[in-house]
């Protein structure tokens, strides 16, 4: 690694200074600022996002997706931005082959069509098992946005060449004319892959293509997840119109919603402030056909394909690539890699009671004498519930409180919050199997759905759900990424310690207040080569100023 220091030149002090001036126009853009320009498969790319828009929308969900050069979708994350800004991360799949990729970002929901565009930021990913990378394909340079150089931000360090595990003091000088319009300052310092370093200030803007997204949704608070899907005929895959599609999420206060499929079989649901991985139970009900339900992946395509250029790596570039791959390998080997992905699902609970309202009665069977089956439980404990077994056919009817007579039809039956339509499903449940039962003896409504009373059984085993079929399925769905701070403070490293330090990112921070001279420091790792200190300043008007300084790191 020490060999790379031979190529250090003083001219790298200010590798380039760029000002990216973005005119605030009618089109809203989302810019992503990753903490590195290249990484190894399996690594995590942290990024901050900034919405360039005429108005401050308060909360706004943006989609950040990782794509191959030709619209090949790899993964996506939804980031909740507060007052135009957000932070998040992408965990790069382990199986990706070496090559150039794009981090695409765009506003997930817009009020009007055609106002949003996709911003793309190139990133190079090395496959961790690639031992000898000879050449790479990269997007043609003709499609990149042009930037004007500017000297607005001044980045200085005590010296230009540092040893491994040495403290680096950095001073950022901000121009006084930006004091009034200052909004946010992002600073990152990381090991630099010089071949890809120019990516840190390059952007490609393009329009959406296809009808998948953006989703034009009016009158919603844009802080949630729009889940879209399709109902088809199981036998011929034709779209099914008029199917009642139910969305349920099992919980102590179960979530429930419905949508009637349109002529193309499409349906959609909106989950407010839903974070993490959700287990969505979706049922498509239709009397005339056997249904099959599927969810859309909601990736977005961009219009143009990129002209690709094949470039051959120089000996130094090959060595840097090998160093980066090895560093990632050793970091995994010596450090405990903990997953950032908090997967527990959480949704904002604005309503104290479930969708069926306050239960007329709630019964805890374990507070009574042990009863062997649901027939006994309903007879002994559930007032207003008529459970009948006639020639092996079970029926359940509830009393209608208002009319003081039995409902003529089955009530809405819920098993841990999931609607079930077979009255026999509860038959085997005894007192020990049931946590509690909610009985609602009113004609209830939820939007346009009418329920002839509600019988909700919550079992002791909370994971119990109805069986999956083609028309009723449990889906895992990634909602908004849990808010995660990308802040990475300076790490104190004992110079005498024997444990290796192969950190590639040394420092990440965000500053929300204007300070003419912003200083910070970080300690270099055992990696030798070049390190980049990148500064991004965003103004209230949506102007983005970038600067960048490269320093050398060598073995002492």
């Amino acid at each position: 690694m020490c060999n790379s220091f031979k190529n250090i030149r003083n001219s790298c002090l200010m590798a380039f200074i760029l000002m990216l001036y973005l005119n605030v126009g009618a089109q809203d853009k989302v810019l992503v600022f990753p903490d590195k320009t290249s990484c190894v498969s399996g690594d995590t790319i942290w990024f901050s996002t900034c919405i360039i828009s005429e108005k401050d929308n308060g909360k706004q969900v943006v989609q950040v997706q990782l794509d191959g050069l030709n619209n090949h979708h790899i993964l996506k994350n939804l980031i909740l931005c507060q007052n135009r800004f957000g932070e998040g991360y992408l965990v790069v799949p382990d199986s990706l082959s070496s090559g150039n990729y794009f981090i695409k970002s765009f506003i997930k929901y817009s009020e009007q069509e055609g106002l949003n565009i996709v911003a793309r930021r190139p990133v190079f990913i090395y496959n961790r098992f690639d031992e000898n990378i000879e050449n790479v394909e990269k997007p043609g340079t003709e499609s990149y946005s042009e930037f004007r150089s500017n000297n607005q931000l001044n980045v200085t360090t005590g010296k230009n060449s540092y040893n491994t595990r040495e403290n680096v003091n950095v001073m950022i000088e901000l121009p006084p004319e930006l004091k009034e319009s200052f909004s946010k300052l992002y600073i990152t310092a990381s090991f630099s892959d010089q071949r890809t370093e120019r990516y840190s200030s390059e952007w490609i803007f393009s329009e959406y293509s296809g009808n998948e997204l953006p989703t034009t949704v009016k009158q919603i608070i844009p802080d949630g997840v729009l889940i879209t899907g399709k109902v088809t005929d199981k036998n011929n895959n034709n779209p099914v119109e008029g199917s009642t599609v139910l969305l349920s999420i099992a919980d102590s206060v179960p979530y429930f919603d419905y949508c009637i499929s349109d002529a193309s079989g499409n349906f959609r649901f909106y989950l407010h402030e839903a974070f993490g991985k959700a287990n969505l139970y979706i049922q498509a009900l239709d009397d005339s056909v056997e249904t099959k339900v599927s969810l859309n992946n909601d990736f977005i395509n961009t219009k143009e394909e990129h002209a690709k250029e094949k470039t051959w790596l120089s000996a130094d570039e090959k060595k840097t690539a090998k160093d980066i791959i090895n560093a990632s390998y050793f970091t995994r080997l010596f450090n405990n890699i903990t997953s950032n992905s908090k997967s527990n699902f959480k949704i904002a609970k604005h309503f104290k009671y479930p969708f069926y309202g306050v239960a007329t009665s709630r019964v805890y069977p374990d507070q009574f004498i042990d009863l062997p089956n649901f027939e006994e439980i309903s007879r002994e404990l559930l007032h207003g519930v008529l459970y009948r077994k006639n020639k092996n056919e079970v029926s359940i009817r509830l009393i209608n409180n208002s009319l003081e007579e039995l409902f003529k039809h089955e009530p809405l039956k819920l098993l841990n919050g999931i609607p079930v339509f077979d009255p026999e499903i509860f038959s085997g449940f005894g007192s020990n199997d049931i946590k509690y039962i909610d009985v609602v003896t009113d004609e209830k409504y939820f939007g346009d759905l009418k329920f002839n009373g509600v019988l909700a059984v919550f079992t002791a085993d909370e994971t119990l759900l109805p069986e999956n079929t083609d028309g009723s399925k449990l889906f895992e769905y990634n909602c908004i990424q849990y808010p995660a701070s990308w802040k990475l403070e300076n790490k104190t490293t004992d110079p005498e310690t024997n444990s290796p330090d192969f950190r590639q990112v040394y420092y990440r921070n965000t500053f929300e207040n204007y300070t003419p001279m912003q200083s910070f420091s970080f300690i270099t790792s055992d990696l030798t080569g070049k390190a980049a200190i990148r500064v991004v300043l965003i103004t209230n008007e949506g102007n983005v100023y970038c600067n960048h300084k490269t320093i050398d790191i060598k073995c002492d």
Binding site: C259, H272, A348, F351, G357, L403, F421, E443, K444, Y445
Partner: protein, 241 residues
């Protein structure tokens, strides 16, 4: 024989009418169209049943009015057909897509507004008090500032001289609606007052005399909603809350 046959038919009809129907399968909500789709949280409620034949009305306004509704999660529904039942203190919506009168679940409502044909509108907000009344009530907001002037309309059954109702039945009670005025202070406390100078001034014990003096000087007798609103505005401007 004929009699036995007739009895058998009657018996079978009775059994079929009272017996449990076979379990329905498929889609119990068959027939709904995409007009039932809303991206918002759906309005929860139960079938509205209450009907009184007493003299007077259980509704604040007898006509159905268009209005808007804001749910607890901040989502808004416009162009609803609404009525306020002040006997039950409940909001009723007419759902014309399914032809049902639905009593909206109060737990899900944050506020609603009725828009009259005249162009005027009235705003109601759900408020909670532990001290004065336990639970939630719908209040009409007469004035919103640092101090909020709110009124709770309550219809009650009261004894009266005998009369015959619309069905010809003899009755001795009727429905009467009373206006109950409250002030919501800056700390969220809700205090009841009657539309009299002393009562209003008593809400602010430290400034009671001064308030009475101001109201007297302004010749404000709190005779109607307009005068009460003006009084609250004046109190708000004169004293620092």
């Amino acid at each position: 024989m004929r009699l036995k046959f007739k009895l058998l038919i009657i018996l079978s009809l009775l059994i079929s009418a009272s017996g449990i129907e076979a379990q329905e399968e498929g889609n119990p909500w068959n027939g709904l169209t995409t007009k039932s789709n809303f991206i918002n949280y759906k309005i929860p409620g139960k079938l509205y049943f209450y009907q009184s034949f007493l003299r007077g009305s259980e509704f604040l306004y007898n006509d159905w009015n268009y209005g808007s509704l804001v749910l607890e999660n901040g989502e808004k529904y416009d162009s609803l057909v609404l009525k306020v039942n002040t006997f039950l203190d409940e909001l009723v919506v007419f759902n014309n897509r399914i032809g049902a009168h639905i009593q909206i679940d109060k737990n899900a409502v944050s506020e609603f507004q009725l828009n009259f044909k005249s162009g005027e509108s009235v705003l109601f907000k759900k408020k909670y008090s532990e001290k004065i009344f336990k639970g939630y009530r719908y209040f009409q907001v007469l004035y919103e500032g640092k101090l909020n002037l709110i009124v709770w309309y309550k219809t009650e059954e009261q004894l009266t001289s005998n009369y015959r109702d619309a069905l010809g039945m003899l009755r001795n009670s009727e429905l009467l609606t009373k206006n109950n005025y409250y002030l919501e202070l800056t700390n969220g406390e809700i205090i009841k007052f009657t539309p009299k100078r002393k009562s209003l001034a008593s809400v602010f014990p430290e400034n009671k005399k001064a308030i009475i003096k101001i109201l007297r000087k302004n010749r404000n007798y709190l005779k109607n909603d307009g005068e009460i609103i003006r009084a609250v505005e004046r109190i708000e401007s004169e004293f620092n809350f």
